[in-house]
């Protein structure tokens, strides 16, 4: 592990990222906005209800809203942070030198991925104290926060790996960026649309709520999976409707782990030319 983290690309990229004042300004504004949102919500809710206190169900609502905001943050920022990691080196003419060093392709890709998502991880971790405010008012179990953060981490890794993959395969950063955002939109909006479509079709034709296809669209949609983590009862409902007892988060983890492994494998194998291909 120590060897993995002593990765030269990772160390260099993190040094460059945090030497930049933009990173700290970004972090400052993120925490500021999140703080205003949380305190504003608490104040507003307690003053509207007139009771002067913040109820656990309101605390849970705040927690759910924050969870979706953070998911949105991951989905929209990760492509921007990762889709230029390799292609920008190509554009800046630094890639060839990097590829002639003794670093393995895996080391380079791993360093690039981890350094790109490090900033987002920092955002999430630094927001934890604000996020944990909800504990003061009850309604949310600590295990729920842990599972949601694991879910974030997996989603972050996968979107990041896809960004690095496109950045390796495509020559230009702009094309890589569009492809990564395209994939992200597919995984969220398109799967969401197909989920609604398949649920409507199933209820129209079979009279039941959902088909195995609906389960498939639901299990790859981060928004739906987050909902099952927030409301575990929803996961049981889906199991009953589709007849598939496997919780959505399990299928999600398997599917996204496969995407992650595939994206990293492609990036590692395509980063350098195969010198022996002509044989």
């Amino acid at each position: 592990m120590k060897e993995l983290l002593a990765n030269p690309v990772l160390v260099k990229e993190i040094k460059l990222r945090f030497r930049n004042i933009k990173s700290f300004t970004g972090l400052f504004f993120y925490l500021l906005i999140m703080g205003i949102f949380v305190f504003g919500f608490i104040n507003l809710t307690s003053s509207i209800s007139g009771s002067g206190f913040f109820r656990p169900e309101e605390s849970f609502m705040l927690f759910s809203m924050l969870s979706y905001i953070q998911l949105g943050l991951i989905l929209f920022i990760t492509p921007g942070l990762t889709a230029g990691t390799v292609s920008s080196e190509r554009e800046k003419q630094t890639l060839n030198i990097l590829l002639t060093t003794a670093q393995s392709s895996f080391q380079i890709i791993f360093g690039k991925l981890l350094s790109s998502i490090a900033f987002l991880l920092l955002l999430l971790v630094s927001g934890l104290p604000i996020y944990s405010m909800v504990f003061l008012y009850g309604g949310v179990a600590p295990s729920q926060i842990a599972s949601i953060f694991l879910f974030y981490f997996l989603t972050l890794l996968v979107i990041g790996a896809l960004g690095v993959m496109y950045s390796t395969l495509l020559r230009r950063t702009i094309v890589s960026m569009i492809s990564t955002y395209g994939t992200m939109i597919f995984l969220t909006a398109v799967t969401g649309f197909f989920l609604i479509l398949s649920v409507s079709l199933s209820s129209a034709t079979m009279g039941t709520g959902a088909s195995p296809l609906s389960y498939f669209w639901a299990c790859i949609n981060p928004g739906v999976v987050l909902l099952t983590l927030l409301e575990p009862g929803f996961s049981d409902e889906i199991a009953q409707m589709t007849g598939i007892p496997l919780p959505l988060w399990v299928s999600y983890s398997i599917f996204y782990t496969l995407i992650f492994v595939g994206a990293i494998w492609l990036s590692v194998t395509k980063l350098r030319v195969n010198m022996n291909k002509y044989r």
């Binding site: 160390v11 003419q93 630094t94 060093t101 003794a102 002509y278």
Partner: protein, 311 residues
């Protein structure tokens, strides 16, 4: 030692490199010369494991570049013709990053980096940001970077291109030092005289094909099939022109009247040349001087690459 056998790189029907065969001895400096697009960078990119050859093989210090590219990377220091640097990285950090990339530990890097900066005369710039250095300084820094893991072989693609005369001289001095250190150096340029004085052997490449290989002198002799002869006369050019026109080895006679000189191209050997002079004297031509013009390497290079230029 570098061994290249039948190395070929094809893009569709276009040969960027065609059946290159070359052997470079250990500790020597090999100059690769050719016009832009002749195939120098293609060859170097293949040797640096950045480009896959269509066919052929190459070995660096006995290691096959196709079979063991990772091992080859440890043996070579590569400097591309065009390269960029990272923004917001200091000179020392730049070398530190590449040192770490070659597996050197922090203690080794701490000892090596000041030495390398001294070698390339950048000690005073150790805390400057690399993107703010001049082009010449960046070139020298890139050379220091290529040396960080003490490679046995250096592959330098046009290291002096785009440099002002002073920076060129500095680069040449550094290369001399590296040669003295016993490195095997492959260096390319599209300017032949630039390489001639520092190289043990030269290879001339044109349209992807190696057209000459050997010492500077042997290449000059091989490529220069015709020499330029100047004859200084005291008068009667017409008679002299008529005489030289009759010799089958003479061509392209030109008259430089204000200097009283006739110049022509001559294909014969030194013995033929002596014979021609004897005959001219016997014919009673008023010859004051008969000499072979010095042709510099630039002329030879222009002559051999003119085919490529007209493409």
């Amino acid at each position: 030692m570098i061994e290249i056998k039948g190395l070929t790189k094809k893009y569709g029907s276009f040969y960027a490199l065609k059946d290159l065969n070359l052997s470079i001895e250990e500790g020597t400096v090999f100059g690769f010369v050719g016009a832009n697009g002749a195939g120098k960078s293609t060859t170097f990119s293949i040797l640096a494991t950045l480009l896959q050859p269509t066919s052929g093989e190459a070995w660096i210090n006995g290691i096959n570049i196709s079979l063991h590219p990772h091992e080859v990377r440890k043996q070579i220091g590569y400097m591309p013709d065009f390269f960029g640097v990272y923004d917001q990285l200091k000179t020392e950090e730049y070398l530190d990053f590449y040192g770490a990339s070659y597996g050197l530990d922090a203690a080794q890097r701490a000892v090596l980096i000041p030495k390398l900066l001294e070698l390339v005369n950048l000690s005073s710039k150790r805390n400057d940001y690399v993107d703010l250095l001049s082009r010449g300084m960046k070139q020298r820094l890139c050379l220091a970077r290529a040396l960080i893991h003490d490679p046995k072989v250096l592959i330098l693609d046009e290291p002096a291109s785009g440099l002002d005369p002073r920076a060129r001289v500095e680069m040449r001095e550094i290369l001399r030092e590296l040669k003295a250190m016993g490195k095997t150096i492959l260096i390319s340029s599209h300017i032949l005289p630039e390489l001639a004085e520092m190289c043990d052997t030269l290879g001339v490449i044109d349209s992807g094909e190696l057209i000459a290989h050997g010492s500077v002198q042997s290449i000059q002799e091989k490529l220069q099939s015709e020499k330029v002869i100047s004859v200084k006369l005291t008068g009667d050019y017409i008679e002299a022109i008529r005489f030289f026109e009759n010799d089958p080895l003479v061509s392209q006679i030109t008259e430089i009247q204000d200097r009283g000189i006739l110049q022509f191209l001559y294909k014969g050997t030194e013995h033929d040349q002596l014979d021609l002079l004897r005959k001219a004297m016997s014919a009673g031509l008023p010859i004051l001087a008969f000499s072979e013009e010095e042709t510099d390497l630039e002329d030879v290079f222009m002559e051999i690459t003119k085919g490529a230029e007209t493409l």
